[in-house]
Symmetry: C2
Subunit: 374 residues, 2 copies
C-alpha cells in the first residue's frame, strides 16, 4: 500500500527522468567533420523542419557543413521548376507558402546527387516513395557511419510481423535509423510556437548528435532510447484520432471523447507490448505519446474527416482526401487497416476492441455508436 | 534494444491489464446484509452520483438496502426547504435542475440521523465542511466494518507532509476510505453519456463492493489498488488546467497546449512519486489520470477562468468565482497554492518548473508567457 512521505525527513531526491530536458553533447563516431546533412523530402513538414535544422547547421559550422541539401520531387509550379523557385526565391510556394527557407537550404531534384556524401539522411517523404528511392540511394553509395532519421508516420506488415518504416530504411541501406515524432502540427511549428518533439534512437551517440541538429528553444527535442515505441506512437495515434472524430460526429461530449482517447492510449500500449519486445513505458509520456495523441484527437485531419464521415453519411475516405484535404492523404485509415489485419491474423481481436470497432465503422459499415459499446 | 516480435510463433498472450473492465463480485466482510448506504452531500456532482447508485441499489435488493439516504445541507429555495423539495418532487432544483432523482433517494437534513446505521459513507461535500462534520459523524457511532469513499478533490498539508482528504476521513472516523475520480463532467454524466471513472481502494474487497455500487454500462468504474495515486491525480489535474487556460488566453495553438498538458502530467507523476511511496504507474493511464486531465484542460472551469485571467488583465480569481461561476469555487487555485507551498518548503522548485510558473502567474503577477520559458 502507498503511504505519504514526511516532507522534511526525506533526502532531497533529484528524480530526474531519463531524458527530460537533458542536452547531450557528443559526436558521431567518425572523425570526418563537419557533417553533411541531406533532407530527403520537401513537402509541408519537410520544409518546416528544413527551417529549423538549416538555422542550427549555420550556427554550428564546426559540427555541420552549413549547406542543407534538400531533395525535391521536381514539379512545375506556374511554369517554373519547384527546385529553381526554392533556390532563387527561398520559399516552397506549393507546400509551405508564406515562410522563407534559410538561404543555406539548397534544393536538388536528382536523388543520387542530393544524397552524395551525406553523413545524415533525414527521410520525410510519403511511405510509398521509399520502395523506389532506397535502392537508388544504396546504389549511390553511402559514406562510412552514415546515419538515418525517419519523420515518416505509418506501419506495414509482412508474414514475419509488423514492419516499421525505420526498419525498412535500416535494412535497405544498412545504416542505423532513428525517428522523430511529436505533437507538431506543421504550420504551428513554422510560426515558431513553443512545442516539443521526441527523438527515438537505437544509439545515444546518434541521438545526441541528432538532438544538436533538431533542438531549439522553441522546438524542444527529448531523446529516448526506444525508437520502436516512438515510431509506433506516431503511427497508431492516427487510428485513435478516427475514433475521436466519430465521437465528435455523433455529438458526444468531453467525458466520452476523453474515454475514447484513454482507451486508445491503452490499446496503443498493448499493441506495442504485444508485437515488440523492449518498449519503454516512459515513451508514452513523451511528446510522441500522450501529447501527439491529444493534438491529433482535437486538431488533426483524421479527426476532422472522421467527424464528416459520420455526419455526411455515404461520403468516402477517398472523396474527403480529394476535397477536404486538397489531395493530401489520410494516414489513419491506412494504418487502421494494417492494424486490423495484424490483430485479426494473430487472433488478438478481443484484446483490441477499440481498434477493431474503429476499423469496422470506417470500412465495414458498422454503426458509429458501436464505438461506445465495446 | 527493442525488437519486433514475429506474428505467428508467439503464444497468444492474454495480457489483461490489472483492472481494466474486470468486474469483481464479492462482499464486505461483515455478515450484515443488505447494506445501508449514506451519501453525505447533495450538490451538483452528489445528485448525479445519487441517480446512478440509487438505481443500482434498487436493482440489487439482496446486496443493498434500497433506500439511499442523502444528507442535505438545508437551505430554503423559493420558500420551501430543499430537503422537502427533494423528497416530494424528487429533484434538486437548485443544484441539478431538470434531472429527476429516483424515488428511493431520501433527503435527510440532520447529519447524525442521515449517517445512522450506514455501512457505506460516500463523501461529496466541499473540503472545508469536513472539519465540523467528521466529529459529529464519529459521535453518532459507526457500525462495525463501515467503509468510506471520497469524491472530494483537493489536497492539504501539515508539518508532517501532504495530507489527503481520504486520510482525513480515515483518521477522524477510523474507517477504510476509498476514492472515486475520473473524467466525469457532471452534466454529461447526468445526461447518460458514456464515460469511465476510477475507484482507488486500499482493499480489493472494498473496491469490488463499491464497484457494484457505482458501475453501470454508461458509467464504467475501474478498480485500482492505489487510492493515493487516484486522489492526487484528481487534485493536481486542476493545477495543470490553469496552465492550459493561460495557454488559451495567450492564443497559443494545439502544439503548445499539448506540450503544457504533457509537462503537467510529468509533474503530476513526479509530485506523486516525490511525496508518496507505492504509487502505481498504471494509475496515470486510468480515467482519473490522463482522461480527466484532458477533459479538465479542454472543458473545465479552471481552464475557463485561467483563460479570462490572461485576457481580462486585473480580474481576480474571487471576482470570477462570484460572476463567471455563480458562486461555485475554483479548486485549482487553492491546490496550486498548496502544491507551491509544499514544493517550496521541500526545496523542490527546480523539479516542478511548470507548477511553480503556474503559481507565480496566478498569484505573483508573473508574465503569463513565462509558462513556455521553463
Amino acid at each position: 500500500m502507498s503511504s505519504a512521505k514526511p516532507l522534511l525527513s526525506k533526502r532531497q531526491s533529484s528524480s530526474s527522468s531519463s531524458s527530460n530536458g537533458i542536452m547531450h553533447k557528443c559526436q558521431l563516431s567518425t572523425n570526418r567533420s563537419p557533417k553533411k546533412v541531406c533532407l530527403v523530402g520537401s513537402g509541408n513538414w519537410g520544409c518546416v523542419i528544413a527551417r529549423i535544422i538549416a538555422a542550427n547547421m549555420a550556427s554550428s559550422p564546426d559540427v555541420f557543413d552549413p549547406v542543407l541539401t534538400m531533395w525535391v520531387f521536381e514539379e512545375t509550379v506556374d511554369g517554373r521548376k519547384l527546385s529553381e523557385i526554392i533556390n532563387s526565391d527561398h520559399e516552397n510556394v506549393k507546400y509551405l507558402p508564406g515562410y522563407k527557407l534559410p538561404t543555406n537550404v539548397v534544393a536538388v531534384p536528382d536523388l543520387k546527387e542530393a544524397v552524395a556524401g551525406a553523413d545524415v539522411l533525414i527521410f520525410c517523404v510519403p511511405h510509398q516513395f521509399l520502395g523506389k528511392m532506397l535502392p537508388q540511394i544504396k546504389d549511390q553509395g553511402l559514406v562510412p557511419d552514415c546515419i538515418g532519421v525517419s519523420l515518416i508516420k505509418g506501419i506495414d506488415f509482412d508474414d514475419q510481423g509488423v514492419v516499421l518504416v525505420s526498419s525498412i530504411i535500416q535494412t535497405a541501406l544498412d545504416i542505423d535509423c532513428s525517428v522523430l515524432m511529436g505533437a507538431n502540427v506543421a504550420n504551428e511549428v513554422a510560426a515558431g510556437d513553443f512545442c516539443e518533439s521526441t527523438l527515438g534512437c537505437n544509439d545515444l551517440r546518434h541521438g545526441a548528435f541528432l538532438q544538436d541538429l533538431f533542438h531549439t528553444n522553441r522546438f524542444r527535442v527529448n531523446v529516448v532510447l526506444d525508437p520502436h515505441g516512438v515510431e509506433l506512437c506516431g503511427a497508431l495515434k492516427n487510428v485513435v484520432a478516427l475514433g475521436a472524430g466519430f465521437c465528435d460526429g455523433l455529438g458526444y461530449g468531453g467525458n466520452t471523447k476523453a474515454a475514447i482517447i484513454r482507451l486508445g492510449l491503452i490499446e496503443m500500449k498493448k499493441f506495442c507490448y504485444r508485437f515488440f519486445d523492449g518498449i519503454k513505458e516512459d515513451t508514452f509520456f513523451e511528446s510522441c505519446g500522450v501529447a501527439d495523441l491529444i493534438t491529433t484527437c482535437f486538431g488533426g485531419r483524421n479527426r476532422k474527416c472522421a467527424e464528416l464521415f459520420v455526419k455526411d453519411k455515404g461520403v468516402t475516405w477517398e472523396e474527403m482526401e480529394a476535397t477536404v484535404l486538397n489531395g493530401q492523404k489520410l494516414q489513419g485509415t491506412g494504418t487502421a487497416k494494417e492494424v486490423f489485419h495484424i490483430i485479426e491474423k494473430t487472433h488478438s481481436l478481443p484484446e483490441f476492441p477499440l481498434f477493431a470497432a474503429i476499423y469496422r465503422i470506417a470500412f465495414e459499415g458498422a454503426d458509429p455508436t458501436t464505438i461506445v459499446k465495446l
